[in-house]
Amino acid sequence: MSRKKAITGGLFVGLTAFSAFLIIAVIIILLVVIIIGGKDTFSWEFLTAFPEDGMMKGGIFPAIYGTALLVVIMSVAAVPFGTITAIYLTEYAHEKSILAQTIRFAVRTLATVPSIIFGLFGLGFFIKFVGSGMDDVFLGGQLKWGQPNILWASLTMALLTLPVVIVSVEEAIRTVPREMREASLALGATKWETIRRIVIPGSRSGIMTGTILAVSRGAGEVAPILFTGAAYYLATLPTSLSDQFMNLGYHIYIMATQSANVDQTLPIQFATTMVLLMLTFILNLTAVIIRSRLRRKAK
């Protein structure tokens, strides 16, 4: 082999390596910059106090509380439905049937729909159609559900995170050995009993990974809740499903772009971003670790 070719080869391999390390470097820079910017403001008080002086001082407790409430309601809606869909796809549907393939296609489409479209859908369907409909039927036209609130925001977010749950659970269900199912059936258990006693317990870690990933996604997304329930500032915590709520991501967005004194609140913004980034980072890391263990088990 000629010398020239060896050099080209070396350059090419170097270029690919450079690209990979460039991405890693950007990830590290992003993490470091956000942490350096936020670490001075970050404290226990910052996490547990209410905003003060028109958000110029104080903490972000309502935003954390709102985000937590959002992901809890979201998970309650998304995880069961996602798990059941995954069970259908692996246990009931024939791999090649048109129905199963359509469902798979729909799930993948759902995963690629821009998040702002979910926001529009939440507004058009949940608030304007379901909410206003509920107001008309139950409250005689009095406005309660037909406006942005945490329930509609959570349900909108649940639609967004449904594919995440489905994909994780499906992957986990496939790692449950076939012999376990066959043994259960051979002992006289019915199909549903087998699923309930063998398949679901066997894929518990997958359901957990799916939930964690969904929570991380739901905590970070802002576009779907822009007009389905997030509020700029609230003096009280949400107490009912028809209340609006504060949200970490929305808080960052508003503070960084819409507030009158962006420069003065910069430390708060960095600290809030750090909290959100750390939250999603830790959740994702947990999911990655569980998942890699799961994959090793599958091999």
């Binding site: 489409t109 821009p114 058009g124 639609l159 970070g220």
Partner: protein
């Protein structure tokens, strides 16, 4: 002694071996199947409801056409009366009826593409004849101005499309080469331990909320690029595009990596056995074999950037301009929805136009996804399975 009892207990007849009807089995199967339909239902509902809220534009367009016709008649009468004496008036209105009928015809057939010159004419007309805000909408939908909040609102989508395409182009030009090369590195060259670091790290980047990337772009990247290039506006298409590349890289990387590792081992082995080096094998055998997958990866990356809202809202400056300068502020389709939906009056024309933008976004990303899916499936199956079997 025990034999008879056993025999009595297990008498298998054709009847007893038949599958029994169990209510719990029946119900669980039906419920699970029903729930599985949910994702299909959601897709249909999204399309229906997002599109439904944009429908009034198409309805008001008929009203508008009628109104335009009546105005046109009046003007024609006016022109007839003054035609001889008022030459200036004639000149002014001389080409109006032709344009008007064009516009009316166009609206009736629902064609949205028009000559930009004609659109400008229309915009000028709107300046002279003041309609109510509800009537002046559909005409200017293809206009070059996006001024939804003014006395005489214009809903020209052209600058939004230009802005979105510009951002998408910049983002993909950055993201695609970097992500594909990185995927090639981790699939072909990297030692096992390094791959086990790179892959999860990039997966973690996928988990970064877009609002965090947007904040980073707004606060850090914008100033950094400004100090390098020295342009005036801190926030522009370039900053937004690079930030969006960060969001697109994990998608392109992951799918490309999957496609590269899916290339049969025999290809690589054959190439190496023929005396090719590892980099030659990677560049001339593995990479071409994975083209459909890489194509799909880029398509999905485009879809991600096209619909990305928070980064666009925070890092692009949000001024609706149509120039091609990458250091100019732009406003994307998704950012327009995100920025304006909260302040809009429900049921207003502006509201409907925003939903129309939403439907366009949805249709576009849906088609991209469908294209990626079917193209790749067809190609890959042909390439690997078709040849082997």
């Amino acid at each position: 002694m025990e034999e008879p009892t056993i025999k009595n207990k297990f008498v298998f007849s054709r009847e007893s071996l038949k599958k029994k009807f169990r209510l719990s089995e029946f119900l669980s199967e039906k419920i699970i199947t029903g729930v599985a339909f949910l994702s299909i239902t959601i897709i249909v509902l999204i399309f229906f409801f997002v599109f439904k809220e944009s429908l009034p534009i198409f309805q008001s367009k008929n009203k508008e056409a009628v109104k335009v016709e009546s105005v046109q008649k009046q003007e024609q009468y006016g022109a007839d009366e003054t035609a001889v004496t008022n030459a200036a008036g004639q000149e002014q209105y001389g080409d109006v009826p032709a344009d008007r009928t064009n516009a009316a015809g166009q609206e009736q057939y629902g064609v949205t593409e028009t000559d930009s010159l004609m659109t400008e004419n229309q915009v000028q007309e709107e300046d002279t004849i003041v309609y109510g805000s509800d009537e002046a909408t559909f005409k200017s939908l293809t206009g070059t101005q996006w001024l939804p909040v003014s006395d005489n609102p214009r809903y020209g989508l052209i600058p939004l499309f230009v802005g979105t395409l510009k951002i998408t182009l910049i983002a993909i030009l950055f993201a695609a080469p970097i992500a594909i090369l990185a995927a090639l590195f981790s699939a072909s060259f990297a030692p096992y331990w390094l791959r086990e670091i790179i892959k999860p790290a990039i997966e973690l980047l996928a988990g970064f909320p877009s609002v965090v990337i947007g904040f980073f772009a707004l606060m850090v990247m914008a100033s950094f690029f400004q100090s390098i290039f020295g342009y005036d506006g801190r926030l522009n298409a370039f900053v937004g595009g690079v930030a969006m590349a960060l969001a697109a890289i994990p998608i392109i990387y992951t799918i490309t990596e999957d496609a590269l590792t899916a290339v049969p081992q025999t290809y690589t082995e054959a190439s190496l056995a023929l005396g090719a080096t590892r980099w030659q094998t990677a560049l001339f055998v593995t990479l071409p074999a994975a083209t459909p997958g890489i194509f799909a990866a880029i398509l999905l990356g485009i879809g991600r950037v096209f619909g990305e809202t928070m980064i666009a809202l925070m890092a692009t400056g949000n001024a609706a301009m149509t120039g091609i300068n990458p250091f100019e502020s732009v406003r994307t389709l998704a950012a327009t929805i995100g920025a304006e939906m909260a302040e809009v009056v429900f049921g207003d024309t502006h509201y409907n136009v925003l939903f129309l933008i939403g439907s366009l976004l949805f249709v576009f990303t849906f088609s991209l996804n469908a294209l990626a899916e079917f193209y790749v499936k067809g190609k890959l199956v042909k390439r690997f399975q078709g040849k082997q079997s």
